[in-house]
Symmetry: C2
């Protein structure tokens, strides 16, 4: 495994030259996280689809267990059990707009991952970086367990476990565990663990911060550098359900799937589940004893257990719910955690927005009214008083300070931007499909996908390294 060890050292050195000046030495973290003997275990998957431009190249890398779709170029990186989903990349000729200025793409956008280490990470959407609109670049970056890199270029960035960087441009940043950042252009910034930070220049800024002790119940590291806490336990308990489907090339859907819906053959569907028209259930989603109403979607790393989703519910990447009743057109943000039990259900009213990285961990039945914005850490109905507001109330405000949350700017615009985005997600995912070609989305487009499977060398000094592979149209 000489070459893999050299690759690990290469990645460490490239990240350290960028982040050590900011006080982070990645060596210990990477050496305890990367288990070289695990790197030969899994296939990488490249999805072949007629609906997405095709180009895939990787060299000097390990991609064990990762899934790729769309144009990707991977060089000197380890991408382990991750999802690189390039189905929203910009295409040649598109006018990329940055404020008032636009420029035309001279070629299809490509996800480029260089000198990086990603583990159980989701990469999705497209780059907002005006530097080279043709590249969605992830350079010299470490993304730990269940991080989401969503429309964010990262150059010299450390992402903690269950963190999300969303619609941003990041350069030399450190993002703590379970932080959510959507803040435009960030350089040499250090984001505390458990901070939820949404900032749009001249419009608004939202901030929430989890108390450290609270956060550590959910996400933490033990002395050996292993991920611990309720989140890790929750996903760990369900890991074995994913294994059999990776051993099989055949696929028979365990439940009926309507013609207009999509169920990934790499999603878990357990027990009695219903998937309705225009639903999208992505790879690595997990559905158990649950109902998905028309147009609802379960994105990567989402878990829907003993729950009911009405129509048009968006469960974003990493969103989780147990014993929850979800109204129509509710948004369950990235890595949110709705954790009810049979006698303490979580009910969310129609139109409501569960903000990214919200934890609703029910000590009693929790009921959230329609059209409510929810954030933070909710355990009782009373907690909602300082961790939710009706859209109506929120829209009236220009400055809010409530518990650990502060908000400045135009509340109405904030809600409006969120709703706009949710509608975009629904359209992109095909939730609004009406039989017309123009209304097709991911659910309808990913239908006839086939998979190419790649494995690394199993012996010799290249053990664990994949060969150079190029797939072209």
């Amino acid at each position: 495994m000489k070459r893999i060890n050299r690759l690990i050292n290469h990645i460490i050195s490239r990240i350290n030259v960028n982040l050590k000046p900011m006080g982070l030495d990645i060596e210990q973290v990477l050496k305890s996280t990367i288990k070289p003997d695990q790197l030969t275990k899994y296939y990488a998957y490249y999805a072949l689809s007629i609906d997405h431009p095709l180009y895939f190249k990787f060299q000097e890398s390990n991609l064990g267990g990762s899934y790729f779709l769309g144009k990707c170029d991977v060089d000197r990186s380890i991408i382990y059990l991750s999802d690189i989903r390039g189905d929203e990349l910009k295409t040649e000729g598109t006018i990329a707009r940055y404020g008032d200025v636009g420029t035309e793409l001279y070629q299809d956008e490509i996800i480029q991952i260089i000198n990086s280490f990603l583990i159980k990470t989701l990469v999705h959407n497209y780059s907002r970086n005006p530097e080279i609109p043709e590249y969605f670049r992830i350079l010299n970056t470490v993304a730990m367990y269940y991080a989401n890199i969503h429309g964010t270029t990262t150059e010299g960035v450390y992402l903690g476990a269950f963190s999300t960087v969303d619609l941003s441009v990041m350069h030399n940043c450190i993002v703590g565990n379970y932080s959510y950042v959507q803040a435009g252009d960030l350089s040499t910034v250090c984001i505390d663990p458990g901070r939820v930070w949404i900032k749009a220049d001249w419009k608004y800024e939202f901030n929430y911060r989890y108390p450290t002790a609270t956060l550590e119940e959910y996400v933490s590291w033990d002395e050996e550098g292993e991920l611990t806490g309720l989140f890790a336990d929750f996903v760990g308990e369900r890991r074995s359900d994913f294994l059999p489907m990776y051993d099989s090339l055949a696929f028979e859907s365990p439940v009926p799937v309507p013609e207009t819906a999509f169920l990934s053959r790499y999603a878990v569907v357990k027990g009695d589940c219903v998937i309705n028209d225009n639903c999208l259930v992505a790879q690595r989603a997990y559905i158990e004893e649950s109902f998905l109403g028309s147009g609802s979607n379960a994105q990567e790393n989402s878990f829907i257990v003993n729950s009911e989703c009405s129509a048009l519910v968006v469960v974003a990447h990493g969103g989780k719910m147990v014993h929850s009743i979800i109204g129509e057109k509710v948004f369950i943000g990235f890595n949110s955690f709705l954790y009810g039990t049979a006698d303490k259900k979580v009910s969310v009213g129609s139109g409501s927005i569960i903000m990214p990285h919200t934890i609703i961990h029910a000590d009693e039945p929790i009921t959230i009214p329609d059209d409510t914005l929810v954030w933070g850490h909710v355990r009782t109905q009373k907690d909602l008083k300082i961790q939710s507001m009706s859209f109506n109330d929120f829209s009236k405000e220009e400055a809010i300070s409530l518990g650990n949350m502060t908000f400045k700017g135009n509340g109405k615009t904030f809600i409006h931007d969120f709703q706009n985005r949710i509608e975009h997600i629904l359209v992109d995912n095909g939730a609004r499909y009406d039989g017309q070609k123009s209304s097709r989305g991911h659910a309808q487009r990913t239908k006839s996908v086939s998979y190419n499977l790649f494995r690394p060398y199993l012996a010799g000094e290249k053990e664990g390294l994949f060969p150079t592979i190029i797939v072209e149209d």
Copy 2:
């Protein structure tokens, strides 16, 4: 499937411009044999090994269900359920000898398949063509079910079902069903079905011809262009045993396999089987209720059912045996068929050579003594009188005419060349492995192989076509 249909027409036209002048129009044959809707069903497999130079490129092709090892380049071809095994290709710097003249290879040899259609075909060994020693070329060629292309370049060639071309160079040739040809350099030649022809200039020439009616019991075409006869029935009955292993990525050997032996995860092992030291069981081999002695090998498309093989038995590509007892160091030639029953066993004495394309179809128990050369179509012990000879007797002869067989030349050299070749096969396959690195062969070298799996587009005008894929070291 517009592009696939265009590809089929392209292949037809390229073969027809070469072979129509010889009286063969391939259009009907290819159109009834290629079922476009079957072309999306199977993965292609590329074996990654540290022991073989690595390069794999294909474009504008369908490779459904085929297996590749070593350097391969495929262009505008359909290679269906075939084995392209480039593990004996010559390497850079080797001196390729043609008679007294030698030349050094400027790069590793590569199998190049262009404008061709291969179905259930085996391609193995290396090119003997002095024109470009760096390319083992299969150009404008049709190979029908279970043909063997073994160390033979084919440029404008039609190979019938269960035919074998061996250690030759062929240019514009038609080879009938179940013909075996090993005859050096052949141009614009038409080989009758069921002819076994071995010719070495200035040394010897062996000829055998199956009676047409006899041959048609074993290999024939019906009016719809479907393969019929006992061979097709035999392999057809066992086809379903292969399917489950292609649906699974996991592999657990059904029997213990010694450290020095190799059992392909794509071989069928059914019932109580024993695999000894230094054995090689290749992909698409089939073993049922059988014993393989040390160093024995079961090559691609071989079937060993209710049989016992002593040590160092070579069952060449496509060799089949049922209820047979095989002595030490016996050679079962390409596509031979030893068909006994529980009370009518076929016994072959040590050292004997069952020539390629020999049928021993027992109407009574058949016993072949040690050191015997066997050919033709044997149903009773008496048939052996005109279809076998002891090495001793054969070695004395300069000209033989026996039943449908004729031989001219040096009998001793003929036997000697065969024995030499068998010893080479044993060494190449690792049957002589003694723990020293220099004695390693395929059985020891193919140990730590991993597979890359490719699939075609499943929809659109490219349906059935694979993308361009390049795999490099």
